[in-house]
Symmetry: C2
Subunit: 221 residues, 2 copies
């Protein structure tokens, strides 16, 4: 694909220099990649324990729920069964809900909120709904045939004390050993972060919203 | 569901105080939620422009690719067609690939890398593969029937100069007006961030890897 290294190529001084430079760049790149590979291999060798993990997606940026649903897609690809409970949202019929309801044998989906909290403006009703949603969540946490459980926007329910954090932590701790759980929502409580295995904070660098672009199907919902 | 507000309830002084406190908490909560709703309504009123958006998921944390695949799920739920090009990865058969190949009429999927860059250790071959992958990407960018295009790990290909950022930006700019694009990968170039509508940085708060937990199906791949 390139004759830069061919001794027979009929090139002037300028091109010979370029060829030498290209060689150096390629060699340096190769050495850097070899070091990187050695480091990665070492890390991977050290990480050998397979166990159910608890992941938390928090922060003000976009991608907390969508990342959880990307994991649902991964899990389904690997033949795992999935349970989803959507807290707080739920009144909105989102794209992921429409899609996941096509696979009733693989995904159990429960959207139990009544719109965002600032739509309901009724604390008692929110608590009641969150409690019912957690009852459903506990069924998933008691079912070892479910490989991945998503608690979408649970952090909001915890932040507003709609649910008791200690009860939630106890139920999470009692789940089957190989079951993975993802919790999403802004303002994850420190108690939850403390017991989580992997925590990602989604930070806003910029958002289309601020440029007057409306929330759109396939992007925000 | 509660008789806290009933004047007939036969309760002592302690409970009356609690009832009054609960009332205050509920009222304060309601006022806060009303203010929040007013603010949200105002923002939503201002954001009215519907247009294809360019999203970038970057940072060292988990969730960049999975969030893009969550958006694929949303888009499919809304009946949109989707194009996916996976740069750099590709040799690994991931859960999302296995899953998305079940929907050949809705999703065109192209995984064109040969494993992570530190696996190939050959810069020329990486450039060749990335160029081929971008050719496929351009076909998606020229097809108005595709509502969402995912360029998974494109940032890596740009960071290592496997592709020219100016060519990529020109091709992105020339896409159909209503088409959404998501680009993922660490180290997004400033030129790409400058033209993006929504940029999220996924930051590591903690990662199971460091506790010796291996990368697992349904979680990392």
């Amino acid at each position: 694909m390139s004759n830069l290294n061919s001794p027979d190529s009929n090139v002037g001084h300028q091109e010979v220099t370029s060829a030498a430079e290209a060689d150096t760049i390629n060699t340096r790149h190769q050495r850097r990649m070899q070091r990187k590979k050695a480091l990665m291999d070492e890390k991977i060798d050290q990480a050998q324990r397979a166990t159910g993990v608890l992941l938390v997606h928090t922060g003000n940026g976009k991608g907390k729920s969508s990342s959880a649903f990307g994991m649902v897609m991964r899990a389904l690809g690997h033949g795992m069964k999935v349970g989803v409970v959507q807290f707080i949202k739920g009144a909105m019929s989102t794209g992921e809900e429409i899609f996941l309801r096509r696979f009733p044998d693989e995904v159990q989906f429960h959207a139990m909120g009544e719109g965002y909290t600032w739509e309901t403006q009724n604390r008692e009703r929110d608590i009641e709904k969150a409690t019912l949603a957690w009852e459903q969540g506990k069924k998933f946490l008691n079912d070892p045939s479910i490989g991945l459980v998503v608690f979408d926007e649970l952090n909001i329910a915890l932040k507003y004390h709609y649910l008791d954090i200690n009860t939630v932590i106890a139920d999470l701790d009692a789940r089957p050993e190989m079951q993975h759980v993802v919790v999403t929502g802004r303002g994850a409580l420190p108690e939850l972060i403390a017991i989580a295995d992997t925590v990602t904070e989604m930070q806003v660098v910029k958002h289309a919203f601020k440029d007057g672009i409306v929330a759109q199907a396939g992007v925000e919902w």
